[in-house]
Symmetry: C2
Subunit: 288 residues, 2 copies
Amino acid sequence: MTRSFPETLAAAVVARGCPLVVGFDPRPQRLPQTFTRGASLPDAVTRFYRRVIDLIRDLVPCIKPQIAFFEAMGHEGFRAYEQTCAYARENGLLVIGDVKRGDIGSTAEAYARAHFAHADALTLHPLLGTDSVEPFLAYCRDAGKGVFVLVRTSNPSATEFQDLRCGDRTLSEHLADAVDRWGRSASPQGDYSAVGAVVGATWPDELGRLRARMPRAWILLPGVGAQGAKVEDLASAFDAHGLGGLVTVSRAATECFEPQDAAWEDKIVAAVAGLRSSTARLGTGDLR
Amino acid sequence: MTRSFPETLAAAVVARGCPLVVGFDPRPQRLPQTFTRGASLPDAVTRFYRRVIDLIRDLVPCIKPQIAFFEAMGHEGFRAYEQTCAYARENGLLVIGDVKRGDIGSTAEAYARAHFAHADALTLHPLLGTDSVEPFLAYCRDAGKGVFVLVRTSNPSATEFQDLRCGDRTLSEHLADAVDRWGRSASPQGDYSAVGAVVGATWPDELGRLRARMPRAWILLPGVGAQGAKVEDLASAFDAHGLGGLVTVSRAATECFEPQDAAWEDKIVAAVAGLRSSTARLGTGDLR
């Protein structure tokens, strides 16, 4: 029987001793010069991330490639995305494809087929409702896959629609309730379900309220570092075992050096080591 | 000076005498056998749509490729999407990339760069609010591009969140108001703005109310045909000149034959001709 995504994820977090997700957002001007000299951009990106994966594969449980930056390089960039995901999975890392797809049922089936081929879990837009999420839940039930549904995004304009009060709840709270419902449908048993949520780490006050509405969701927490959120504000996402939350860091981990810096490998390892120790004791748990 | 997207679109609709958009949703099992025999799937898709574009380029103003079905073929499918968009534009068709992207600002910039390279206009998710849409509006202002923002989707579960009552308005009505606001920001002048909306043709009662809230938006109307909507229910999207709405049809136009049918070209032309005459006199206008 296929192991469920929440079980696989919990085991990986415990094995690596931290709930850290390293984001891959390939910005051409931020790659080490050693890769970009004389190479095509997609090739430089692929080779850079192979090396990053070698460096971090024993340090963190997951990576989160942001597909937008790969798509910006056209179909060769899409291939670099595929190759990066494949190499990460070969090396024992879980891949959360940050694709934020969301469409009507027949199209959602095509997206699920397209993207679960490369990733263990995907980020999803919930605006179209249950029938748009259901094709992804089928993969959660049958193929050990997972999803992270947008509940509260990390950007400043998140307040515009997500804070609208609809009856006795905000829209984000309605979305959190849907995550809990979809999670019970995809994963009737276990502490956590295969249906997680995205809650921006930039909104610590909302985090506790949203966690209470979806007690079985793994919460993906973007926004630490470049977007200004602080690790110590995220405790309410975590349980007594240090599980339930995933802190994602992109620029602070993979753009922590200048392109001409020969010591870029050491700097990435040092940055990830620092982030590991600051995230390993979140909540009342201690993964170390 | 670059012509604005709403001007380009209106001219194309008038020139072709119909507000019809042909959707390209490549389902492998629905391609004519003449293309699939002995060929790779992405090549078969590319060659099929080249022929479809030859057949319809003088009959309709726009095509709408649904990128999910291309992504399901991996990076070769992404290349087929690029090639199909390029061939359509070379042949004078406007391309609405049905990509439904929506992400935080720095990522949205990458998506805008990625997808406006191939398409004249894009469909967008609005859940993240103004700062997630702004990078696309910059292309509307400066590069003659357009967007169609999800306001009310065609699927049955659309009611789940989009009908939530937030204060004196539903969420869809809040989104329609944002479309109007973003349209005034991107296109201060003219009858129509570069910021259009997606309103499922499956919801004729909502269509009139939403049109009243965003009088300057081109409205993209999916759902006719396979999803059950009827052309005659869409009049309220259109103005006295027959402009302002775009009827999109996918399966009814490009899957109107069996894969082994040798007469597939004639059937596509006949289906599109029928749809042209039924859409040319929508509202009080008459484009013929």
